[in-house]
């Protein structure tokens, strides 16, 4: 969801910056956008065999206190000596004690992050990008469709809508993973299943010993539960192949492009719209995204 660019269409100088020119999208303050804030890992939650959630706290209390973000925004979590990677901020927007990122061990940075212990230092640059337009969704039904670690990108948003439950209509969460072991945030899932004011559908791809819940791929289950598109916003995140089929299913069910949102991942380096690799046509995922409506995506080249 691209931010409205209200700032002056002019190039700035150091003098402008010192004079307090608004210099960044999404309300971020002046300063050196490349410098990470040093933070300490205060807790590590093993979500699945290959996903850990890191709760980090900025070493500077003032930074921690001032920290706020919109649901759907991302941050760069980095290890000095290894590098930085982009992750969704998935703690609640109301959480003031720490910032949480969930990391699947896969590449250079993520594998190194998995080696971290409580007390280790990380560098954090956050928040970045644009969140979901949750204010514009007030009064609407919300349908979350998530697969695997896609839940990390939507957790903050889910928590936001649950914390502001009265602002929204029906809330449905469809979440699937390959096996029950791969379901993240099991404590959340327990909570959802207890609550009467939301409808949570949890599914796994195939039968698994001890699993008594639903079995089936997310897009198929979505068609089974056949949500009513009327006054509903559908938000999806998961592996690219899942997103592809979910979007097709939603279209089949008469969800319009304006009703459908997704949040994208791309390889990123700077995270501030300069280094040039996360573009899809003229849009940068790091500053114009990661949240895009289907209507916006249709305008872009097929380079997802």
């Amino acid at each position: 969801m691209a931010a409205e660019q209200t700032q002056a269409k002019t190039r700035l100088t150091f003098a402008d910056v010192q004079a307090g020119a608004p210099i960044a999208v999404a309300g971020k303050s002046a300063g050196n956008p490349y410098l990470p804030q040093i933070a300490t890992v205060i807790d590590i939650v093993e979500e699945t065999p290959n996903i850990k959630s890191f709760r980090v706290r900025f070493d500077d209390d003032a930074v921690m206190e001032a920290f706020s973000f919109e649901p759907g925004q991302v941050g760069q979590l980095g290890l000095f000596g290894v590098g930085e990677s982009t992750f969704a901020i998935n703690s609640s927007t109301s959480e003031k004690r720490y910032v949480q990122f969930s990391v699947m061990a896969a590449g250079e940075v993520t594998s190194a992050l998995h080696e971290l212990n409580v007390g280790d230092k990380v560098g954090v640059r956050a928040p970045m990008g644009c969140g979901f337009p949750v204010d514009a969704w007030k009064g609407k039904n919300i349908l979350y469709i998530m697969g695997g670690i896609g839940s990390a990108a939507l957790r903050a948003t889910i928590n936001y809508t649950l914390e502001h439950r009265e602002d929204f209509g029906d809330i449905t969460i469809l979440y699937g993973a390959r096996t029950p072991l791969d379901l993240t945030y099991k404590y959340d899932i327990e909570d959802w299943q207890v609550r009467k004011d939301i409808d949570a559908v949890i599914t796994v791809d195939r039968e698994f010993p001890g699993w008594e819940g639903r079995v089936g791929f997310v897009p198929a289950v979505l068609e089974e539960i056949a949500p009513n598109p009327s006054n509903t916003i559908a938000i999806t995140c998961g592996p690219p192949i899942m997103i592809k089929f979910v979007l097709q299913s939603l279209q089949k069910m008469q969800f319009t492009d304006d009703q459908t949102y997704t949040t994208l991942e791309k390889r990123m380096k700077c995270g501030i719209g300069i280094c040039g690799r996360c573009n899809i046509g003229p849009r940068y995922v790091c500053v114009d995204g990661p949240v895009f409506s289907m209507a916006e995506l249709r305008e872009l080249p097929d380079e997802l």
Partner: protein, 386 residues
């Protein structure tokens, strides 16, 4: 307008070098012209029109350390740290967990990270007006244009740099600055402009920094004759630059032609190296990496380019621009569609380096004449592809 006699050039550069580093085009033993720091006696090469590379490197360094850091452990704490890298077991008991956290925090306490931003005053002398426009066009992306981020590293160097351009006396057939809004005597972004005339140079300044350049006492007022001659040089130069393609409508046509099979045809002879982007005065994409030796590390940014096959490669193995033709399309679309859409400026100043340095002479003029114009209804270019 001032005049600088040819035999005063070294003294002039010496004057400039008094307060800052001076960078000039220099011809090496192998005949290759590159921008190099000047020292007394260094011959300035102005006859060869374009240095192999633009002067971009002196403001936007090819590799630049922007953060230094080090891990150090206080003596006592270090002794207690278990080096075994065992995964932390998070205890269920809050008190135990708290104690473990406190101990760990103390042990790992000293991480020092210091930003580095080295920006010496410098004068770049002898770059061409297209090279200067390259900086002007890049300024937007680094300068927070439109409310985006302000890059302190680029801007520190940019503000400490004085650009003394030289009029292109003999533009090449591959020059197309006038097509993209520039000129062989263009002054946009230049602090001063020198023009080669008989016996020396006329010198004009356009900014406060440029005025400082004129502070050299060896400069005299240019005679009417010299001024007229300079005008003639400029006019003749403008005549030598051909209009390469129709700029109007390029942005819209690129958008309309995004899926056109013509991209495949044009990209066939591309070898997907990064030459065009690294010699380009405008291309600014970069990579960020960490380098660490024995507990001391640096985070640096280095030029990168969209032709690099691993540029967009994700950890999962998925690559949004896996095909050579996709990467090819990105560069031209970025310069004439994506960038203008965000920053209201082209990202090409028409120097033609990408044409002459490309190992297979891919011609940006041809690419834009073809893909920047309305295309006939999709013809199957790649046979099985279509």
């Amino acid at each position: 307008m001032k005049f600088l006699a040819q035999d005063q050039l070294q003294a002039f550069l010496g004057h400039l070098a008094g307060g800052s580093r001076v960078v000039v085009p220099v011809k090496g033993e192998d005949g290759v012209v590159l921008f190099r720091p000047w020292s007394p006696g260094t011959e300035v090469e102005l006859d060869v029109l374009l240095a192999k590379q633009s002067a971009k490197d002196y403001v936007f360094r090819q590799s630049e350390t922007y953060l230094r850091y080090g891990y150090a452990m206080a003596g006592e704490a270090a002794a207690q740290v278990d080096d075994s890298h065992e995964a932390t077991v998070v205890s269920d008991d809050p008190a135990t967990r708290k104690a473990a956290q406190d101990a760990a925090v103390t042990a790992h306490a000293t991480l020092v990270a210091e930003p580095v931003n080295d920006a010496p005053d410098q004068v770049i002398f002898g770059l061409r007006p297209c090279d200067v426009r390259g900086f002007v066009q890049m300024d937007n992306v680094f300068g927070g244009y439109g409310g985006f981020y302000f890059d302190p590293y680029y801007n520190a160097k940019r503000e400490a740099t004085t650009l003394v351009a030289v009029t292109c006396r003999d533009p090449r057939s591959t020059c197309f600055c006038t097509t993209v809004g520039g000129s062989p005597d263009g002054t946009e972004g230049a602090d001063a402009l020198v023009t080669q005339v008989e016996g020396g140079f006329t010198v004009e300044s356009f900014s406060e920094k440029g005025e400082k350049v004129l502070g050299f006492t060896g400069l005299v007022d240019a005679s009417t004759d010299q001024t007229l001659k300079a005008e003639t040089v400029k006019e003749q130069a403008v005549d030598r630059v051909d209009v390469a393609f129709e700029l109007e409508g390029v942005q819209e046509n690129l958008r309309a032609n995004i899926d056109d099979p013509g991209w495949h045809d044009l990209a066939m002879r591309c070898i997907s190296c990064g030459t065009c982007t690294y010699v380009c005065p405008n291309c600014y994409c970069f990579n960020i990496t960490d380098e660490m030796v024995e507990g001391q590390g640096e985070r640096l940014r280095t030029w990168d380019n969209c032709f690099n096959p691993t540029y967009t490669l994700e950890t999962s193995g998925h690559n949004p621009r896996d095909m050579k033709s996709n990467r090819f399309r990105n560069r031209f679309s970025h310069k004439f569609w994506y960038y203008p859409e965000k920053y209201d400026s082209l990202l090409c100043s028409g120097c033609g380096r990408c044409i002459t340095h490309c190992p297979t002479r891919i011609d940006i003029r041809e690419v834009l004449s073809v893909m920047g114009a309305p295309r006939p209804e999709a013809t199957t270019a790649t046979g099985e592809e279509a």
